[in-house]
Amino acid sequence: MLDRNGIARRIAQELRNGWYVNLGIGIPTLVANYIPEGISVEFQSENGLLGMGPFPYEGEEDADLINAGKQTVTMLPGGSIFDSSMSFAMIRGQHIQLTVLGAMEVADNGDIANWKIPGKMVKGMGGAMDLVASADRIIVAMSHTNRKGHSKLLPACSLPLTGVKCVKRVVTNLAVLDVTPNDGFMLVERAPGVSIREIQDATAGRLIVNGDIPEMKM
């Protein structure tokens, strides 16, 4: 079973050289810590920067340089700054090769819900709806089940949707799963020490298990 950093590390293996990548808040942000050697990617933050670097050293924070999570950041050489309409031109225009974000629910047709729980305070969707409606390659990073132990991989989302039929891959603490167009979640890899049975038990949506399912190589 993976912890948050393990999920991020597994997702980092998906990175390809030359990609532009948008990382959501939470586990996705951790992906930047595990870029494989020899791979050069550039991170976009939708509030308006490309070439985001690590957090600043103490005392070097600049109030005028933050990421979409409102955290102080730095810039790498070759980066650029732009306004919000240009930022979403990049996103909507599919110039970003990979979007990684968290979710509250993913349906086995690729629907995602991650912004609103009826009856609770709604904070807003931020840039998530633009991101999921636009990117060709969307990976969801989340725990397989919620705090009550209920599966977050469902036959259909119960919460208000963020986007429809858009998630391509889900990486959880238990498994890597691809969303197939018609047949539900296809199990691709098991987390270290996790059995197929455990994954089946934790997955409420349709799950395809074809042959031997390898353990992740971490």
């Binding site: 957090f55 050293y57 909507r92 904070k123 969707m125 709806m129 409606a133």
Partner: protein
Amino acid sequence: MNKIVKNAQEAIRGINDGMTLMVGGFGLCGIPENCISALVKLGARNLTCISNNAGVDDFGLGLLLQNKQIKKMISSYVGENEEFERQMLSGELEVDLIPQGSLAERCRAGGAGIPAFFTPAGYGTEVADGKEVRVFNGKPHILESALTADFALVKAWKGDQNGNLIFKGTARNFNPVMAMAGKITIAEVEHLVEPGQLDPNFIHIPGIFVQRIFEGVHYEKRIEQRTVRQRI
């Protein structure tokens, strides 16, 4: 073409009860601190504010919320504000949540004379309720309309008397598109420079979009999430 006004108080003259304002900034980064303070003093009420976020309880647009000057917020994310939550849940405050990219593009469209455009963002979600859906290249899109405002309040790094603006870092964010979309755009700048001091090749927002400009004072530039790494 001299658009300089003395201070924030003079700049916001004409903002009345019931008006629609655009307010630049992302979180607390790049917000028009001086104009917001002056608005609290002015006390105009029943305002509709278009701003990506709603500030925090004691800073940014949170100050207008505490003073109960805002009737409606049009934003993409409003999560950092308890007073906001209280007013929203009690029904005092109307809230219209919009995907961040659609918000930015709707402002730009308002400034650019484009009344409506199609975007894939929000298709199949409650954002699409009541909106026209059309398929382009096999992908469904929804029709979104332009946003404009009686006044746009923006914050820049440098500016000149013609209203030309240069922003710094990610304090740029929504400020340029809102400057374009205001019927009257008020720019507060950290440094008001002499005409000709800004390189025409590196102006972020040409002065044509700005009606009033002044040099702000006492910028606090509060950081919401101070995040640092350890020196090794």
